[in-house]
């Protein structure tokens, strides 16, 4: 706008000449309050919309799904396990590279620090519900052509195209596993610290997920680092870009920061208790506890 707008608009001009707004002057927006009308005679009264005699008027209709005696639809169709075990299937909230680039551009996510699920949730980029069988976030290829940021990101699943796009820009992707309790702690750290419990160990993946996280193709956190390097070269050849050398980068220290297998937060080890009110961290000293938490 070339000239400044008057704050409040024309309404303030009119308001200056009208009487004072008081408790007696307020009224609701016309059309917002609908009056409840009593049902009398031909307007919902007499038989009250129930029809004439029979089961309909007398409230004795049979159960839902009953079709008069022949086999009802819900029994005639044979069962098939479409939804069998749906409550045990892990779900991953998709995060497109387009959305990630949007968050970085707006400054909501800091690319100079390792990007964790906590950072994404703090930036309100994704919403994860661990109670609805969400096991984390998955990276999706959408926006791979416009993605241009060098980041160290840790997600739970990643598609090949997304891994390629991030590594093409000199970044690092890692896929790691969080069990539901650790996930709940990861996305909302402050309510967990206020509970006063020690940070638990992150559990290792179950049998079915171990092959995924030990595979270098998926950049799993349990995979061999050498195999990961080979996989990076192979992916660069497949997608046709030159793999930039991270070790010569100025942010190499940040890009190589990775969490320990049993660690949930960067900088905090399992077994520690964080006191938010007094701003102190309590560490266990007993041998058995130390042995348990470092195993």
């Amino acid at each position: 706008m070339s000239f400044p707008k008057k704050p409040g608009g024309k309404a303030t001009d009119i308001l200056q000449n009208l009487p004072r707004i008081t408790l007696a002057n307020l009224r609701p927006e016309p059309g917002s309050k609908k009056l409840w009308k009593r049902l009398l005679a031909s307007h919902g009264g007499n038989r009250s919309g129930r029809g004439h005699k029979g089961e309909r008027q007398r409230g004795n209709r049979p159960r839902l799904g009953f079709v008069g005696g022949s086999t009802p639809f819900y029994l005639a169709i044979p069962k098939y396990g479409y939804n069998e075990g749906h409550s045990c299937r892990p779900q991953y909230q998709p995060l497109s590279l387009k959305r990630l680039q949007y968050l970085i551009d707006l400054g909501r996510v800091d690319p100079t620090q390792p990007i964790d699920l906590t950072q994404l949730v703090n930036a309100r980029g994704v919403t994860v519900q661990p109670l609805k069988r969400d096991y984390g976030v998955q990276l999706v290829d959408e926006g791979a052509d416009i993605f241009a940021a060098k980041i160290n990101i840790e997600v739970q699943r990643a598609s090949e195209g997304a891994i390629a796009a991030i590594e093409r820009n000199g970044g690092v992707v890692t896929t790691s596993f969080y069990d539901p309790i650790s996930l709940g702690i990861l996305i909302k750290p402050v309510p967990f610290f206020l509970r006063g419990q020690p940070i638990p160990r992150r559990m290792l993946p179950g049998e079915d997920m171990v092959p995924y996280y030990t595979n270098a193709e998926n950049r799993g956190y349990l995979a061999d680092p050498e195999k990961i390097q080979q996989a990076r070269l192979a992916l660069a050849q497949k997608y046709g870009y030159i793999l930039p050398d991270i070790s010569k980068d100025e942010l190499y220290h940040m890009l190589s920061m990775r969490k320990d297998v049993r660690q949930i937060f960067f900088g905090l080890a399992p077994g520690w208790v964080v006191n938010m009110t007094e701003k102190k961290i309590l560490k266990p000293t007993d041998e058995k506890l130390l042995k348990y938490y470092s195993s």
Binding site: M1, P4, K5, P7, G8, G9, K10, A11, T12, D13, I14, L15, Q16, N17, L18, P19, R20, I21, T22, L23, L26, R27, P28, E29, P30, S32, K33, L35, V121, N122, R124, I187, K188, V190, P191, L194, M276
Partner: protein, 294 residues
């Protein structure tokens, strides 16, 4: 019996910019005639600018200039000029939001304790009073049925009922902003540099208010725990002049009192608190728990 509400149809008269609708009938004794509209300070005013906005103002809006007065003398000369943020003191006058917030404030605390007994709760009435047939009287099953005198009430109020509901936080915040803006536009808002008065006499305040034509009732809002003793003593026994802390500012009190008096620290506090809601994220957990970045 509820009568259907028919609102007066205001004809739109936006052809003339500041015209009142032509078919609006107002009684002539509504406004105090000696209460003249004071023009806002112009740019070339000689008085010093005592307060500027700390928060960033959007580029397409300009800050609102108001006079800053003093309570120490009874004459009505302003002492300085203050700048107020337009997103708090000049928002759209949304009267429907004001109505919603006012009704919410009245009703969310309401618990009605009206309770009547149903036919099963009234004492007695288990036995059939007389035989079904042969008595010549109407057939009845209990002496406490609703058609009997002394019987239970069929559809009466049942127990303590709560009318609790919460309007969204941003609607309540917008209600405060709209109330402040309407006080500002209708010239009922006064900024004061401090609340020091020379005497603890309530008559002094009443004379000051009458001299400056502030209105029948005044609401003074302060921030912080330290207050000059004089004003506390003066307003202690007065019904029409009340002093409240800034955290207690609400739409009902603002509409009930005619004039609103804010100190400059109060304006700072209110702007900070009310503007925060425009830029905050949605809460992951209640705002009472600590956040590192909000």
């Amino acid at each position: 019996v509820m009568r259907p509400m028919s609102c007066p149809q205001f004809a739109s008269s936006f052809a003339g910019e500041s015209a009142v609708p032509s078919n609006l009938l107002l009684p002539t004794n509504l406004v105090d005639p000696s209460r003249t509209k004071r023009p806002p300070p112009s740019a070339d005013c000689s008085l010093p600018v005592l307060r500027t906005c700390d928060a960033a103002i959007p580029a397409h809006l300009s800050p609102i200039q108001t006079w800053v007065e003093t309570l120490e003398r009874q004459d009505s000369e302003p002492v300085g000029v203050a700048q107020l943020h337009p997103d708090v003191f000049a928002v759209q006058p949304r009267l429907d939001i004001l109505h919603q917030v006012e009704i919410w404030q009245r009703n969310f605390k309401r618990i009605s304790h009206a309770h009547t007994k149903v036919r099963s709760e009234v004492k007695g009435g288990g036995r059939k009073p007389w035989n079904q047939k042969g008595g010549g009287r109407a057939r009845h099953g209990s002496i406490r049925s609703p058609i009997w005198r002394g019987g239970g009430v069929s559809h009466g109020p049942r127990g303590p009922t709560s009318y609790y509901y919460m309007l969204p936080m941003k609607v309540r915040v917008q209600g405060l902003k709209v109330a402040l803006s309407s006080k500002m536009t209708q010239d009922y808002l006064h900024i004061v540099d401090s609340l020091n008065i020379p005497t603890p006499d309530p008559q002094y305040l009443l004379d000051l208010i009458r001299h400056r034509h502030w209105g029948q009732s005044v609401l003074i809002v302060h921030v912080g725990e330290e207050l000059p003793e004089n004003i506390l003593q003066a307003t202690a026994d007065m019904k029409t002049v009340n002093i409240i802390p800034a955290i207690g500012l609400n739409v009902h009190s603002m509409l009930k009192h005619e004039a609103l008096v804010l100190t400059m620290e109060t304006v700072q506090f209110l702007e900070e608190k009310l503007l925060w809601h425009d830029k905050r994220y949605t809460p992951l957990y209640p705002f009472k728990l600590p956040y590192s970045d909000l």
